[in-house]
Amino acid sequence: MGMTITEKILAAHAGKESVRPGDNIWVDADVLMTHDVCGPGTFAIFKKQFGENAKVWDRDKVVIIPDHFIFTKDTHANRNIDILRQFVKEQSLPHYFDVGTDNYKGVCHLALAQEGFNRPGEVLFGTDSHTSTSGAFGMFSTGIGNTDAAFILGTGKLWVKVPESMCFEFTGTFPEHVMAKDVILNVIGDIGVDGATYRAMEWQGDAIMKLSMEERMTLCNMAIEAGGKNGIIEADEVTTDYVRQRTDAPYKIYKSDADAKYVFKKTYNASEMEPIVAKPHSPDNKAKVSECVDVKLDRAYIGSCTGGKLTDFMAAARLLKGKKVKIDTFIVPATREVEQDLHKEKIGGETLMDIFQSAGAYLGDPSCAACLGGPKDTFGRAKDNQVVISTTNRNFPGRMGSKQSFVYLASPYTAAASALTGHITNPAEFINN
């Protein structure tokens, strides 16, 4: 019986010939990532369990990326950054991207990719549920808590229950106005917020393999919104081109066997996909954009690990160019690299930054910002009973900062089109004209 890509990577990291779904195995970690919200707690547990003077198992495999509560006056939040600094110093960790320096990056999941820490065939654990994002590189990646992270810091290992795999195949070509965000919201709507619990979500088909790395990351990012353990896409030339620009480190490409076993398989016709929103207050509360055009909005938010990449802003700028937004519109690049690209990349001779400024949008510094609400002074944080359209990944009650607010999740195209009209709008109206 064949194995899926997820099973092969886990078997290789457990020193086994083969594994089966349900097996409990100890897996070697290639990378452990943590950030400002979970790092301090992880380090405290590590010291308590392994001793005040214990050293991490492998300095080169620990990556610390502050990104959540960055541009805030909150003293506790800032103290957490100091705790990261202190630990990095004690342990002489080489991969730390400090706030307030040229080395600052921004949102961890995109920073991991941009800094060359995502490599096909590897196992990456992170203290953040959207660590599933890295699976876009044909690797196993999943989110864990502080205790598990502290365990890895001390041992380099973690027990993993091998997940069953689900296969989502898309054939053909997506319509121009449909983005990866529409695809994943559609799938989550189909299977529900617990439809992939304990499972791997594997993406296949020629439509998927035509997507850029950034779009693939959007698909894998939201595996967790369906409860998934990991999202994964086999590496191809698109992957290796991206990786080779970022790192010389070796990697290994794994592919699912033709007779691999999936507990679920569904094939979609890519050309039939439509712009989708997730209505309040759950990512699986799916509706076609065309069914929601009556929804009046107070603000639009374009940012986060899933919706604040260059591809996302290219899409938004394409619609906003030469026009004015009708509602407060917040633009938050995920990382410094994306921010710099906003100054460089042009549409019709105008930089994306100029396009957003002329359109009347507000621009924030790279970080998680209002994607998870954050401290009271967070840029773009939702207030009162505002109705928000957002390219982020969660719309549970209160997620963006106000328990009374209503958040619709959508693609950057849909968010930009809606910012121009003040109500939920199908981007096809702007793109096809």
Binding site: N24, C38, P40, G41, N80, G143, T147, F151, D194, P375
Partner: protein
């Protein structure tokens, strides 16, 4: 491990996510400082919308204003309990508030793992949907030997699912103790 867990029920619905369990703005406090970490108890379950807080009636705060301990120590949940982020502050805040067990129809994966590996409380599963059977404030007792839950207020007993393979970690106390017991890491 104690043979029984007794306490008052606090009942919640489906898809209770980690932002409802502990809203992100509070994730700034130290979890290792015993005094400061009490803030987590204070804000435990404070993100649950009022009409869903303490079913069936709702409108019941989990902790009284300013207190870090709750009078409710057994949480009853529906499907997909603890979905959302990987923040361990979620099970931690519940333990700090005095939670000793959660009984849900199903869990989100990371929350379940964190509860077990960190040894915060025991996450039980029950095939019956208890959300409509048990009321907030009901007097409950869990018997770990017979794997049953008895509602002493309504005098009904329910069977709980077996804890399965994670029982060894639960019995050891947490993943570190388990690893020491099995020789994976040296004993302290």
């Amino acid at each position: 491990m104690n043979k029984v867990i007794e306490g008052l029920a606090y009942v919640l619905g489906n898809d209770i996510d980690t932002d409802q369990i502990i809203p992100a703005e509070h994730l700034v406090y130290s979890l290792s400082d015993p005094e400061e970490s009490k803030n987590y108890g204070k804000f435990a379950l404070s993100g649950v919308p009022a009409d869903q807080a303490g079913l069936p009636d709702g409108g019941i705060s989990f902790t009284e204003n300013g207190q870090h301990e709750s009078k409710y120590s057994i949480i009853i949940g529906g499907r997909n309990f603890g979905c959302g982020s990987s923040r361990e502050h979620a099970p931690a805040c519940m333990e700090i508030a005095g939670v000793r067990a959660v009984i849900a129809e199903s869990y989100a994966r990371i929350f379940y793992r964190n509860s077990v590996d960190g040894g915060f409380f025991i996450p039980f599963e029950c095939a019956t949907s208890l959300v409509t059977e048990i009321k907030t404030g009901d007097d409950l007792i869990i018997d770990l030997e017979s794997n049953t839950l008895t509602n002493r207020s309504s005098k009904v007993t329910y069977e709980l699912k077996s804890l399965g393979e994670v029982i060894e970690i639960i019995e050891a106390g947490n993943i570190f103790e388990y690893a020491r017991k099995t020789g994976m890491i040296p004993s302290a």
